[in-house]
């Protein structure tokens, strides 16, 4: 594999891309359609023909649709095998044509950040281009580890170059991550789930020392005075001082004050608030508090500043696609709704009322249809159904492009729930823990075996044409091929899926107006969009506010969000607040389970994808990180086999005793495959055996808010290290 041959910086693949060949040619690839013959979860399957498989899937879909209606079909779609055309896309288009399905809302990766972005700015298009980092005088990487998670190719390189230019970078993270160690000048360790408290204390310093941008606050924000009262303690009697925050966050008060002053006075400064700290209970509060801090220091809409938030707009993809005609601002009436059901609309969602707790009046963001079930709540939905207040009685799961069981909270409850279903079909490349619960497993090919277009993650300025390199291996087929056959058998007369692959790709890519020459793009394999100057979110709003209000209900940045206030939920306050919860470090539960678990992304996997690649497995052992102090208390030595457990389950993996983690915290990288022994102890070390299947009022998925305890495993063996 070689890289693109453009000028530096090239779009250089990370180790995962470099190792992809081993996935394509993996012995573990699914070779032909399979039908379950043993009990659910036993993993006993027989080989069947594609004809048999198609017929069985179609007959089950038809039966369930007839008996229970379309909402009984749960469509579980993921980005595990995704391009512009393949992955979940053709499955969705096909299912729309037969009346739709029940779907989820609340993306585990970012729902907290998204909610906060919408509530504060009315859009997810925030942040500046990476090139613009050179204009900053100070950069904060908050819970953000691009050295491992990439965040678009080149991000770490831009940060390293910024540092080389003498721009100071500070990292705030419970772990001494690769980013904190290599890309930052200073690391501030923080207790997980307490980021909001530290942000409030920084805000307190900035307000009491009058370091905030008064003019900006007056012209562009609403609700500063209400927030100020809370921050200064006039609302609840507790001033959110650095001393207050020190006890909560474990960050020394003096350090908080210095950081606050530095951020407020070294203007322009970029606070890049990662999504990880928002993957907590009340994670949206952290993200809101970060966004508001950017605003009150006037670091929004200017070069070198950075509007934290969803951080999608550092290349304004939507703007280019729609030629600037995209509707902005809040939704004022039903006019905005498409008059006719379109191909991309799920009929089950189409006429649904919005969820009352959603921010449905704001354009963009999460689909607010009340027919949807929160991602982290669907096991309850399956188990309880309409009687339990859920919008559907689920009978069937149609799972494409996701190792759902492994990657969402509470694996043991998940197994229980999925086992109750009438039918499960999984479209996969490998026999994942999720596929092992299916009745029918269908082998899907990899992106090397079909044509597709890769859309940049979060919208960096490039596209990649994934030219087919080899024919499909074994009996595997592309999602498109599979859905064509299923569509025919479902009696769908007309469908975009019946067009040739290349024609569909041209149609799908046509709205992206910057791709002017499709043929050349296909031939080159990539297309880099030339950008004259770095994109700066909200530049128009700041430079010409008369003509460019913020797309919120007030037209300004909402420190106080009246729209949230209307919901009247004390756990979803209209200003950012620090809140504790049942599984926080100071909860009753912490007496029983005193360690906080964080579950970040590892450099050698993409979620659970690529877990079984030998070249990548060799890079890093799957272990639980534990601080030396905590290990000593439990008599745990480096390399020993330990059990990490709570009420939800138990995993058994070796311990890595380290200084690189704040005491009181353990880290199990998410994505390792669930592999239970006879007693139900997971020897694979799947982090979600331990996480809780609940969600925050704003939708954040609390993957970093679990409490656990650790003990030596019975018959633990000290491994050489």
């Amino acid at each position: 594999m070689e890289t693109d041959n453009t000028e530096a910086p090239q779009l250089r693949a990370c180790l995962r891309g470099r190792a992809y060949r081993q996935r394509v040619y993996s012995d573990d690839r699914l070779r032909y359609p399979l039908r379950r013959v043993g009990k659910r979860g036993e993993g006993i399957y027989e080989r069947i023909s594609w004809d048999e498989a198609y017929d069985e899937v179609v007959s089950k879909i038809t039966e369930i649709k007839q008996n229970y209606g379309n909402s009984a079909i749960l469509f579980v779609a993921g980005g595990g095998n995704q391009g512009m055309l393949h992955g979940a896309v053709p499955h969705a288009l096909m299912l729309h044509q037969i009346g739709g399905y029940t779907r989820m809302w609340g993306a585990p990766s970012y729902e907290g950040a998204l909610f906060a972005s919408m509530a504060t700015y009315g859009t997810m298009m925030t942040g500046n281009n990476r090139e613009d980092l050179f204009n900053s005088k100070f950069i904060i990487m908050w819970g953000w580890n691009p050295a491992n998670t990439v965040w678009d190719p080149g991000t770490s390189l831009w940060l390293a170059k910024a540092q080389e230019k003498g721009i100071k970078i500070v990292a705030i993270d419970p772990m001494f991550t690769d980013s904190a160690a290599i890309l930052a000048d200073e690391w501030i360790p923080i207790r997980p789930g307490t980021d909001t408290a530290m942000l409030l204390a920084m805000t307190n310093v900035i307000i009491t020392e009058t370091l905030y941008d008064k003019d900006f606050v007056e012209r562009f924000t609403v609700g500063f005075d209400i927030y100020k009262k809370y921050v200064l303690g006039e609302e609840d009697g507790q001033p959110k001082t650095p001393e207050w925050a020190e006890k909560i966050t474990k960050v020394p008060a003096e350090k908080i004050s210095i950081l606050a002053r530095e951020y407020a006075t070294k203007k322009p400064a970029a606070l890049i608030a990662g999504w990880g700290p928002a993957r907590t209970m009340f994670g949206e509060q952290y993200s809101r508090a970060a966004n508001v801090l950017c605003a009150i220091t006037g670091n929004i809409g200017i070069n070198g500043g950075y509007a934290s938030g969803f951080m999608r707009a550092y290349y304004s993809r939507e703007r280019i696609i729609t030629g600037g005609k995209k509707k902005v601002g809040p939704i004022k009436s039903d006019d905005d709704k498409p008059k006719k059901l379109r191909l991309q609309d799920n009929p089950v969602d189409y006429n649904a009322k919005p969820r009352e707790d959603s921010l449905y009046k704001l354009r963009g963001g999460t689909n607010p249809a009340n027919t949807r079930i929160h991602y982290n709540d669907y096991y309850n939905a399956i188990l309880k159904g309409r009687k339990g207040g859920y919008p559907a009685d689920i009978k069937m799961a149609y799972i494409a492009g996701t190792n759902r069981l492994n990657q969402f909270s509470n694996v043991n409850k998940g197994i229980k729930a999925l086992k109750t279903l009438d039918f499960i079909v999984v479209f996969e490349q490998l026999m994942t823990p999720t596929a092992q619960l299916a009745d029918i497993v269908l082998p899907v090919n990899t992106f090397m075996e079909r044509n597709d277009i890769a859309v940049p993650w979060l919208g960096a300025p490039y596209y990649i044409y994934l030219n087919k390199a080899i024919d499909s291996l074994y009996e595997s087929k592309s999602d498109l091929e599979i859905c064509r056959e299923l569509s025919k058998r479902l009696g769908i007369k007309e469908s975009i899926l019946y067009l040739p692959e290349d024609q569909i790709l041209q149609l799908l890519s046509a709205p992206r107006k910057e791709i002017k020459n499709y043929k050349k793009f296909k031939k080159d394999g990539y297309f880099k969009v030339e950008i004259e100057e770095p994109f700066v979110a909200f530049k128009e709003q700041i430079n010409d506010p008369e003509n460019n209000p913020f797309p919120t209900l007030s037209g300004k940045i909402e420190i106080y969000c009246e729209y949230i206030a209307e919901k009247n939920n004390p756990l979803m306050p209209p200003i950012p607040k620090y809140l504790s919860h049942d599984e926080h470090y100071d909860s009753l539960k912490a007496k029983q389970y005193p360690l906080q678990l964080i579950t970040p992304h590892n450099k050698r996997r993409t979620h659970s994808t690529l877990e079984n690649i030998p070249w990548l497995k060799e890079v890093d052992d799957h272990v639980v990180w534990i601080n030396t102090v905590d290990a000593l208390k439990r008599n745990i030595k480096n390399g020993q086999l330990v059990d990490v457990f709570n009420d939800r389950g138990r995993i058994r993996i070796p311990a890595k005793v380290t200084e690189r983690l704040i005491p009181g915290v353990v880290c199990v990288y998410q994505g390792a495959w669930y592999n239970p022994n006879k007693e139900g102890i997971d020897l694979g070390g799947c982090a979600n055996v331990l996480t809780n299947d609940i969600y925050s009022p704003g939708g954040a998925v609390p993957l970093n808010s679990s409490l656990v305890e650790i003990e030596l495993s019975p018959n633990n063996q000290l491994e050489e290290n």
Binding site: A13, A147, A160, E164, F176, S179, A181, E186, K603, R660
Partner: protein
């Protein structure tokens, strides 16, 4: 005489392993055989810590001790560019030989495959790529542009002549052909 060498910017290396995996992909290496290795250097007590990575491979030394140690002259140094090449066909194998080459390499970089009496193998500077005017795959793969290669004299002009880094000690006698921008050992406070 031309002498090829590597440059490694340790300040930029995030330990992403892309160079190492790209090498394995290009040379089709099995598990346990790593022609390019990543060393992790961790120091300090929480919260005052230091972390650096050292990406290293055969240094194609000016005076390679492995070459002298090999009893069957399986290791040679190309006259044209100083690249040190091993002829695995000639190598008599790890057990039969006693891995004499590995024992004299101060950087523990020579590799023996898995299985019985494996033959020595190591970085060949991607000489087929070099001959086509390309960079070795590890250099081309590094997302941080932290690796470079070329004639050592040219590299010295471009990057200076620092010969040590965290985790790497120079040898005056052997003269490894690698230069660095080392990460300074400053504990993060």
């Amino acid at each position: 005489m031309k002498q090829m060498g590597f440059y490694f910017d340790q300040t930029r290396c995030t330990g992403c392993f892309t160079c190492s995996v790209a090498c394995k992909d290009w040379n089709n290496l099995p598990i346990g055989v790593n022609w390019r290795k990543i060393k992790i250097i961790e120091n300090g007590i929480f919260p005052k810590l230091f972390l650096a990575y050292l990406s290293s491979t055969c240094n194609h030394c000016t005076n390679p001790p492995c070459l002298k140690a090999c009893p069957v002259e399986a290791i040679t140094k190309r006259a044209s560019d100083g690249v040190v090449i091993v002829n695995s066909n000639k190598c008599i194998g790890k057990e039969d030989c006693g891995a004499k080459c590995l024992k004299v390499c101060p950087w523990d970089i020579l590799q023996f495959g898995n299985g019985e009496n494996p033959k020595m193998e190591k970085c060949n500077f991607c000489f087929e790529r070099l001959d086509q005017g390309k960079q070795p795959i590890c250099v081309e793969a590094c997302p941080m542009y932290a690796l470079d290669s070329g004639d050592l004299e040219e590299l010295n002009k471009k990057y200076g002549n620092v010969v040590e880094a965290e985790g790497f000690k120079y040898s005056k006698d052997i003269k490894p052909c690698v230069i660095f921008k080392p990460k300074l050992k400053k504990l993060q406070l």
